[in-house]
Amino acid sequence: MNRNCHNWRTPLFLAVVILLTAWPVQAEYADVVLNEHSEAEGMRPVIFSHWFHRIRFKCKVCHGELGFKMRVGSNHVSMENITAGEFCGACHNGEIAWAADQCDLCHSGKPGLKTGIQGGHETLGPGIW
């Protein structure tokens, strides 16, 4: 009886260890979902990738010059702002980056996602990011 117990315990233990250590990562660290207005207005949620943007701009460009507060959900950006050259629109104007008429490139998230910071390799503490 004892012997049987050991027989299933070892692979189960290994499976748990492997699942915990090698579970494939989900979305990229610091990806941001923005869905305060998107779906309500018939668009996919926006996925903003920090990794893509920080290769091209230092933090202080968006979180300084462009006025983005460092808290997901605290920036109320409308398409009117963007087409007026504010916030995302400072670059997404067809000159530095694609223009705001390329809806699907930003509004690219799965329906039903909630606004927030997503991504793997994340501290699973009591965060409010």
């Binding site: 990229e28 660290y29 990794w51 010059e65 965060g127």
Partner: protein, 179 residues
Amino acid sequence: MTIVLLAVSVTAVASNWKKLSNDGLHDPGNPALKLLQNPEESLRVLPPDTTGNMVDWIRALQNGDIEPRSTIKGEVEEEILDLDVLIMGTGAGSVPFIRFPHKAHTEWLACSNCHEHLFKSEVGATEFTMMQILNGEYCGVCHGAVSFPLTECNRCHSVSPDEAARIQKAKVMEEKPGE
């Protein structure tokens, strides 16, 4: 059984970055998805790290592997400050004290991103706790969200109590020579 599990494990580790079409966030049904760059394409050539984006962003910038712009409107001057701050009261027993490096921070950020609303410029004037940081306040505004996560204790808590005491003593001697 074990071999199969190990094989699965190795496959999972082989790529640090998921494709956008399979990352749980992007809609695979979006026809424009194929126009977006997958993380692996640009991140795999940057200096590696063991957490976050699996990229050592500080080194990537210092090596010149990436050249992010500092300004769009030409309004922001570079303000690199090479000044480490030993933050007393942040260590005890086996927990080392925090050494805060301004250089790595000011290479990415403007002074006004942290001062004076998050941290007062005067050393010791801002009180904060680890719980507040874990809750996304103070250092936790970035660390745990976009900068390296809070699981990396020793990257911040890096000065042993003995060394911290030596540094403090030296500072007192410097300020009040002869004592």
